[in-house]
């Protein structure tokens, strides 16, 4: 059955079963492989996308549930100011090791800072704890998010 989903501002028709997770529709039906598979059960955050602005685990979100919703993925991250600032902080701080989890980390961090531009250390920990980094770059992920939050604050001061 064909599903109509808006992805990064573009409406796409996806002909796949409605219970197919959004992750696999993105990766194998549309060839958008920036969104990563890590666990398939909502435990690692590698597959994080935004659905109507909310950080969402695409491995656990059936295609039928995102019909007529706005999905955005890492491929469109640089189109938002927060996303772009985080990408820059990630590069400046050389956050990643293997990099495989980072699309999910960035998508989750973007949702965090969009909803809460000035999170405390504890709030960063709480918001990011659903995202596993097997390489354990946590110190740098945390620092990069805190830096973007700080810079925003300075810019708005």
């Amino acid at each position: 059955m064909a599903h109509r989903v808006t992805i990064n501002g573009e409406t796409r028709e996806i002909d796949a079963p409605g219970d197919m997770p959004l992750l696999w529709a993105l990766r194998n039906e549309l060839g958008m492989v920036g969104t990563k598979f890590g666990c398939g059960i909502g435990m690692c955050g590698a597959c994080t996308v935004h659905v109507d602005g909310q950080a969402t685990r695409s491995c656990s979100m059936p295609l039928s549930a995102v019909a007529d919703k706005q999905v955005s993925t890492v491929e469109a991250l640089e189109q938002t100011p927060v996303g772009q600032a985080l990408q820059r902080a990630w590069l400046d701080g050389d956050v990643m090791q293997c990099g495989y989890c980072q699309a999910g980390q960035l998508m989750n961090a973007t949702a965090l800072l969009t909803n809460n531009p000035n999170p405390s250390d504890g709030e960063i920990d709480a918001a990011m704890q659903g995202n596993i980094c097997r390489c354990a770059c946590y110190k740098r992920i945390h620092a990069a998010i805190a830096k973007v939050a700080r810079d925003e604050e300075t810019a708005n001061a």
Partner: protein, 733 residues
Amino acid sequence: MPDGVQLSRRTLLKASAVAGGGFALAATFPMAGRATAVSGPADLNAFITIRPDNTITIVGKNPEIGQGIKTMLPMLIAEELDADWDSVSVKQGMTDAAKYGPQLAGGSFATPMNWMPMRQAGAAARAMLIAAAAQRWGVDAASLATEPGRVVQPGSSRSATFGELASDAAMMDVPDPASLKLKDQADFRIIGRAIGGVDSPKIVRGEPIFGVDTQLDGMVYAAFERSPVFGATLKSADLAAAKAQAGVIDAFKVAANPQASLVEGVAVIASNWWLANKARASLSPQWDNGEWETHSTKAYAQAAKDAWASGKSDEVFAEKGDIDATFAEADRVLEAEYSYPFLAHVAMEPMNCTALMHEDGTMEMWAPSQTPQGGQQAVAGYLGVEPSQVKVHITRMGGGFGRRLNNDYMVQVAAIAKEMPGTPVQLIWSREDDLRSDFYRPAGWHKMRAAVNADGKLTGWADHFVTFDLGDGAFNPAAMDATEFPAKYVDNLKFEQTKMATAVPMGALRAPRSNALSFVMQSFLDEVAHATGKDLPTLMLELTDGVEAEPETQGFVGPQPGFSAPRLQAVTRKVMQMAKWGQPVADGHALGFGFYYSHMGYFAEVVEASLDARGNPVVHNVWTAGDVGSQIINPFGALNQVEGSIIDGIGQAIQLAVEIEGGAAKQSNFHNYPLPRMPMTPKIHVEWVLSDNAPTGLGEPALPPVIPALTNALFALTGKRVRSLPIDPQVFA
């Protein structure tokens, strides 16, 4: 300073012009004992290419798993070339043993293997650019120097960019690498600078660079059903039912091939991986689990206890002095039983590989493998063709940790793709497959004994190690060396072992052997230290007091420095100072120490820990002093490796275990294999102790000491000794 491995005379350099202008330097880095001339034009084999527009392309020859090698090796070349780093781009090399020598991500070998050869290759190119400038200006080459990206004549206004000189440089004689003078450390401009990963800009944009991101026209997806019980064989499966599922293209049996680590099972092929994986449920496979079904961690642990009780072992593998008399005469005898579990690798990117069997019978693969050459050979062996018939693209990997040293998934996809010539197939394992089809870090059991005399001196040290019989592979992750610390520093010693049969696959996990033995040895030494009224760092310093560095030995990568007690002493003293060892800490907190030497690196670490309200350990601070030689090549990558290793080790100590039950791994995904998450991250303080040795690798040696440092801290805090991992909070109750 001993420089370690050199670019040998057998390493052949060849220069040529590039179509459209420019200079290409090709190099072959032969495997030991095998010299092959660069065949064909150098520009096709180019290792370093300089174009008239000043862009420089350097081939990254080793696989990138997140250890930073794709950035680090080109840094070495660019340094001696005196390139402007911003003009350098890095291209991943193909699998080609004849051209590149070993292409391996493992054992922290790449740094010591390449430190000199990469720099010498860069220096050769620089010498040719200088020669070209000397010729153009009619001056003596000795009067010329380089600035980043250009040749200059100090004291004159002569200056030309590398790009301007590139086409001429291609005509110059290639110098003998051994004749080239390399830069002094003080003159480094790129080595020692914190440089971001070359792929990182692509990663933050979600560009397709990992193995599993490979996309080919007409590609289909494969999922693989196997028995969770190791050693099982397939009796039957309902292929028709699977084929009837939505999106399924085919389903067929794959026969086992133990030599190639290929297990028996069923491949399901579909237009989408999720559909292929889902269809596995309709296979209703029947397995013959044979005798292995009765195997379990519990049974192994019981067998270890039985072996200890019997007093008999299979083999004594280290013995000196008179151990029986020493224990009989000891003032005090300490005895303890230590154990650690199986562990999984769980690289973030699950195992996968893409393969295309061409109509002419050659196989092309896109392989996230730490040993792509090994994979190429395994696939060629399996298919009965020459390795040259198997073309292997090296992809970036979402982690390795040693899992991708085994290329079973490469053979598996080859077995599938050969049934579908002309159709590219991407095999992906689910996380459940990944956790239940690993080559696990071996579990192990140690019955330790120590004898202390009336002066409080450690006089005897003994271990009855119960481990697994893994045959005679190249590297046995379940073995212990006869020299395991403090073997050399006690007068009376006995190491014996008992080996159990098993079908559980085992392999190297980051800092293999060391990640387990560090816990046992440094914990039990901590017991000795406490029993004699000392602390562990003091005992370590006493044991190695006045001992000189051992002479150079021949290691896997060539000449390497022998174990150095002075380096152990230096990092130990350093970390004691960093952590203010011996001074009071916050209420309810305590410090613990651990040292370990592995992969040529010396690491001493101190952990500050407490227990939370529910009695679970919490790590607040980790101080680390490391000696990996004279130079930290890329401080960005180096620190990331150390921080990652420390958190990895803490996770293993606190909460990770794979339990074998009914012949299969019980853990299946992150809910029951709970990797560390952000809130667990302690403050990590790292300092380097530079020493007069060629630099060595950092992927592994920072991990082992953190585990005993944590359990020793918990002893200091509670007086309760953790002797089994992962830490059971009941110990402190």
